[in-house]
Symmetry: C3
Subunit: 352 residues, 3 copies
């Protein structure tokens, strides 16, 4: 899609300096911009690049005063970063809504209902008695089982698998390869050393505005529901076990693993590769450092923790810094022992 | 599916107290039960809920004596937990066997044989010369390559990918997105810094009663077989590298990574996110704490280990507890040094 | 496929000792060989097996002098290991090129171009305006979005998902379930505690000779490109976040996670389950121990590091060895304190 610089300035309530009739079709960083690109300058650290960029247009702030000649046309706005983000979002919207209609072949089972504005990619599958909302995009090869409910405007990318009875809200995004509703990992040990499978008959409930990363897995509950509350953002390759509940607006980076029945609070932030044992709860607002292992309930809200097992961040950092000099500490102790021994042997401790 | 309480009591060899003609259609926890649900009371810790539950029926033990009125009908059995598990399993069986027949389109290559009672979901693929047993369920978009063998009653969920020459036993469950038989990660360094691919020509052998979690990956052997013995239970997002062998009835939680050619014993239990280096062996019955890293062979059977690198659990716990107070230990040592120095300087060590 | 031992000897420039007219059809380890298999003996540690192997043929070196009778025919070559690898590679080539043509059904969007020698598996999908090179193999259920470019001789295994605008080079291998180009994990916190999605409009660029493991995920850049340079080898279940760049011939083992905008050098080697924070750079030739966490830029080339947070390997090993004996160190310190106190109390420090 091509737009004139003038059209974009109009969209952003900005003013053109230079040639407004040129067209742009792509967004780029200022240091990487080429002909036909539009970029922005928000941080004066990057000002040098505005004099050398090949981008056709640059969005700048009202306070920007050029020190040299600039080949790009400028669009002057109140806040260049906000304006550029607005452009990004408009662009994303156009991309999201470019896919419409039903490609062939697709499979739709009996009793399933599909709302208006659907995109159904080829080889996508919808089982029996599922309800798909309006403007949902189901990309190719996605699998939606029986009795699934999906809200409006939700994006289901290629090859996502959603097991029977899952419930997914409005405005969610589920990235390629994610698995929703696979069986929880429950096995009862038998006397002969083998394991008997504990049936997993619950489901997964995902509320509105949730984002699920590529190849992430969320298991169904044994009974009841594994619940992802509204606004939760989950990155790629994360494991959410059965009966977990994640509080609203919590952010979970890639490769976290949350074991069964743990309850995560609201507005928590988890770094990458964190592990959380089962059957504990994590208070609202907890911040967890990457690769930490949480082994017990966190009751106090808004703390930062780290380590395996995780404890208070500042204490952890102090322990870690001494871990690195453990060989020296060990030597200090041996020296002390030796010195004391020498002092005694040399008779420096006189008999009183 | 709906059953009367009387029908269920009959199935469980139980006795009805209350209205046996009511119908139930869902299993629920006692604290979450609603009309039409059946629940159970096994642990007297939960007794309070039996007086408030909205479930239509509750399974209780012979020794249960109500202290207040109960609105639910009761089914009295010898062991409520066992009876409820029996119900769960019956329910699971009905669910598993509800899918039958061949949806369209599917792809089946030349020379492949498919047993009776098959379910082949739409867009599933079977290559050439593969043999699929009886009552196998192949969910939509599953991929089964050439020369694959799959035993009876095995469930292959949506989007599972099984590479050529894999052998899978009876009564296995492979969850959505799992990859069986991808190339082992083998590359030979060349003089110019690049790597040459070492062909991976072996296969994966999975014995009977194995469960494989969603998006788990199991690589084929370089030559010979990567082997998963009978009864092994593997959770989601686990990586099993080439030429690994996992002994029977071993349980591996989510996000474990087992490097090439390692041999894992029988009846081991691995917590989540454990890593195991290549070319080692782990004795039968080893229990490994979450996030541990095992860097050398474990010879002694039935030990518990933890940490990175992993060592004996109790020792690990002691080390960890001191890790947390390292800053204090460091201070103690500095204090000792200072005190000894002061004592010497103050001349308290008299010349003998 | 069957070959006579004589044919294979000819291919390897070797000399037959024994019956050259026998046929072999499979490659096997010497200790596992059966009738119809060909094996090799390169390491005299395995010499015992040549006297008992059931393999029909064994490749041996010119310097090999049998001490007992051998039932297998021998193929005598200069370097048995090199010759066997050559056989493996020939075999792999035959396997790779056995798939040709277009299975039905497939989906190809408007404006897409596909080179000669293609294999398109059933249920594979190619969107609009994509360009696929020569001799590309696209296995069943693979998804290739719009405006994707794929070079010659690249293998795309079953169920791989490649998002719009991705660029993939020649001679690459992408294993089943890998996701290329999913949205970067970028969210801007809002005043009400919720997050606003930052549009991810960049792409992924994968250069020539790259290998990507099963179920690995590589996110697209926010703007610009996430870049995987030529010759990079990435194992299974690895997470590569937005705007990351990985230098040529770097090797990354399973379950690594590399956070956003980090720049990895050339010829690095990462053990399994390593985590790397965002916005740092790692010097060329860095070697990283399994399960390490890299929290800051590594400037010096060709160092080995380990630990969380990672530091120089030898220092790490020393710290780890003392970590294991922390309880003892703690006791030593307490003993020293006690002893000094006793000495003082006992008046052994005499008044000078």
């Amino acid at each position: 899609m091509q737009f004139t610089i003038k059209q974009i300035a109009h969209l952003l309530n900005g003013e053109v300096r230079g040639d407004g009739s040129l067209t742009v079709s792509k967004l780029a960083k200022i240091e990487q911009g080429n002909k036909g690109d539009i970029s922005f300058l928000a941080n004066h650290k990057y000002e040098q690049f505005i004099y050398t960029t090949k981008a056709s247009a640059v969005i700048v702030g009202k306070d920007f005063v050029p020190k040299k000649d600039i080949s790009a046309s400028l669009i002057v706005v109140d806040n260049p970063y906000t304006s550029f983000t607005q452009l990004l979002e408009e662009y994303q919207k156009i991309l999201n809504f470019s896919k419409k209609g039903i490609e062939q072949p697709v499979f739709v089972g009996e009793g399933s209902e599909i709302g208006e504005g659907i995109y159904q990619g080829a080889f996508s599958y919808i089982g029996n008695n599922s309800k798909i909302g309006k403007n949902v995009k189901i990309y190719p090869q996605a699998y939606i089982g029986d009795n699934v409910v999906i809200g409006d405007n939700t994006l289901i990318y290629a090859g996502v698998k959603i097991y029977n009875n899952s419930v997914i809200g409005n405005n969610c995004v589920i990235h390629a390869g994610a698995v929703i509703g696979s069986d929880g990992f429950g096995f009862a040990p038998q006397e002969d050393g083998s394991y008997r499978t504990i049936p997993q008959l619950g489901n997964v409930v995902i509320e509105d505005n949730v984002s699920i990363g590529a190849n992430t897995t969320i298991d169904c509950a044994t009974m009841g529901s594994t619940i992802i509350r509204q606004g939760v953002k989950i990155d790629n390759l994360v494991q959410i076990a059965h009966n977990v509940e994640i509080g609203k607006n919590t952010v979970i980076a890639a490769q976290n693993g949350i074991a069964g029945s743990s309850i995560i609070g609201e507005n928590c932030v988890f770094g990458g590769q964190v592990g959380i044992v089962g059957h504990i709860s994590i208070a609202n607002g907890t911040k967890v450092g990457a690769q930490s292992g949480i082994t017990k309930t966190i009751k106090k809200e808004n703390t930062s923790i780290s380590g395996m097992p995780a404890f208070e961040l500042n204490d952890y950092l102090r322990s870690v810094s001494i871990f690195r000099k453990l060989p020296q500490l060990d030597k200090q102790v041996r020296d002390l022992e030796k010195r004391l021994e020498e002092l005694i042997e040399e008779g420096l401790f006189s008999e009183a």
